[in-house]
């Protein structure tokens, strides 16, 4: 087990270099001049452009720039924006908010999705099953920017139940509606995945054995059926945290949450490549570590899986 974890951690190294290189190249390929509009209405003075170009190695070919960048990054230096702000500071400010939003989303998704999935999986073709089927279809079909603006307008503007925008502290109570919006599509997935898994496993031989042993119904379902059915769902939920953080850009925009989505968007439009890469590098690491965690969780849930 220890060796497996070590091997997986070592595998992170090439993935880390590969993804950063790719992102670096992509940001570099975006057209535009980083100094356009930097100095107000007039063009930037040549001396300034020359100074900045040298400081940021902008005349070198991009692979070389990448090498310079990685050299700094490996010493823990995320670099600075063209405005001279530390990028690590931006990351430290934006990430907690996005993480909070994604966690709220994940919790909502797990509670509602699992409950709906278990109930409908046990009673297939009933009223509730059809209700959930239709509502998951809705959730899957409506894009986040529609459901986000809709809920913001109805709950925030019309009925004034919530504030239409989230304050800069991003309290958990404020994040419930944005979290719901962010997780709505995944929630539908979780509900359907759980339903299928429960339905499939409820016909299995070991459930029949549990009944034949004279165990009460709640134990048959709550212990024997649930443990097996939740394995695929739990792994989905684990990997989904990374997706939720990466996908928060639209939701953050709608509810003006100060998270990484907004920072990335701003950095891309101003061609702040170092900022984009810095934020995405952390995101990639979160994603990779969550994946590792899920694989380990998988082995803990299913004793037939052993990593050697």
């Amino acid at each position: 087990m220890g060796r497996y974890v070590l091997r997986r951690l070592l595998q992170l190294i090439p993935v880390f270099f590969g993804t950063t290189l790719l992102i670096y190249a992509l940001v570099w390929a975006v057209p535009g001049d980083p100094f356009a509009g930097k100095c107000g209405d007039r063009a930037c003075p040549d001396s300034y452009v020359q100074f900045m170009t040298e400081k940021y190695h902008l005349d070198d070919p991009w692979p070389l720039q990448y090498v310079f960048y990685m050299g700094h990054l490996l010493t823990g230096d995320f670099g600075q924006t063209f405005g001279g702000r530390d990028i690590s500071e931006i990351i430290a400010q934006a990430y907690p908010n996005t993480l909070k939003l994604a966690l709220v989303g994940l919790i909502i998704e797990a509670i509602i999705g699992l409950t709906a999935g278990v109930l409908t999986g046990l009673r297939r073709n009933g009223f509730l099953d059809n209700l959930v089927l239709v509502s998951t279809l809705f959730l899957l079909a409506i894009p986040t920017f529609v459901s986000g603006f809709l809920l913001q307008f109805i709950l925030g503007v019309q009925f004034k139940i919530i504030d239409p925008t989230v304050s800069s502290e991003a309290r958990f109570s404020e994040l419930i509606v944005p979290g719901f919006v962010l997780a709505s599509v995944s929630m539908a997935y979780v509900a359907r995945l759980t339903r299928t898994s429960i339905a499939e496993n409820s016909r299995s031989d070991y459930v029949r054995t549990a009944v034949a042993k004279g165990l009460p119904q709640r134990r048959v379902v709550g212990v024997h059926l649930l443990r097996n059915s939740l394995i695929p769902v739990v792994t989905f939920l684990g990997t989904d945290l990374g997706s939720l953080m990466g996908g928060a850009i639209v939701t953050e925009g709608i509810f003006s949450i100060n998270g990484i989505g907004r920072e990335v968007f701003r950095a891309i439009t101003t061609k702040e490549s170092a900022t984009v890469v810095g934020i995405v590098v952390v995101l990639v690491m979160v994603y990779l570590l969550m994946n590792l965690l899920v694989d380990l969780l998988y082995a803990a849930l299913d004793p037939r899986i052993r990593y050697e």
Binding site: Y206, V211, L215, N228, L301, P303, R304
Partner: protein, 345 residues
Amino acid sequence: MSNVYVADKPSAAREGRPSGRLLEVEDLRVEFRTRDGVAKVINGVTYHVDAGETLAVLGESGSGKSVTAQTIMGILDTPPGFVTGGEIRFHGKDMLTMSAEERRRIRGEGIAMVFQDALSALNPVFTVGFQIAEQFRVRRGMSRRDAKKRAAEMLDQVKIPNAKQRVNEYPHQFSGGMRQRVMIAMSLALDPEVLIADEPTTALDVTVQAQIMDLLGELQRERQMGLILITHDLGVVADVADRIAVMYAGRIVEEAGVYELYAKPAHPYTIGLLESIPRIDEKGQQLRTIRGLPPSLLRIPTGCPFHPRCPMAQPVCAEKVPPLLQLGSTRASACHFAEELVKRD
């Protein structure tokens, strides 16, 4: 039939049988409502088992022997399966009219079941110890530790070596034979009065089959249980069974003591089954088979369901369903010509 070895073992059933029957199935009828129509899977099955007695239920796949067992256990899948008639009496009380809670209490303690494929019948994500111990915890209110200890004792009783260590292992860590022993230990945990073993050795190889059958026979005698042994393998039943009920198309076609049945079968289907056992003195010759296939349960033939395949069939067989008639005090057959078959030498 002198080539078939029949153990002349003393039947425990004859000593101290309680007055009432332990488990009786009477005129049980079950149908499966499928998209293709209604399949009449069980068409009036009647059999019983007493304490200390082994009844073997014999039949091809699809004859309804497993469905009967599932109906007794109350684990029939509904839908598609529906009980449409008959009674299942345990200590004289009809289980089909009991409340769900009453029936649940009988499971495991009154009647327990051993399934064919222990690998899929055991829960893959819990240790075997947990799966045995949970019965002591849920049904006997034992502490976690005591229940675990009892579970290890159960494994020891079914002769699993190193029971104390193996109690913490998962089903996939056991070999096929050992897994079936775990299954047996689990079914016996609450000391049931009746044990139903549904093809307990079919998934095992031959040497292990014999060990498991011996174990079952031994445990049955020790505990004076009623044992219903469901099988399609005539070789398996000879040593352990007291009586045999032969099923065909959801009916009992013949019931007799094991010796009587092997010596002088009273139904053409039983004759066919016995003749289809490979024999060492006929090596090199073609195996004898029963011609044709078992009938589709959606369209059971009129009259005697076996008549299209029967070498003795007469016009009457296609018209009248032969009832299961007593032939003397110990045996019964559902053939129009049963008496002639018995008299024949």
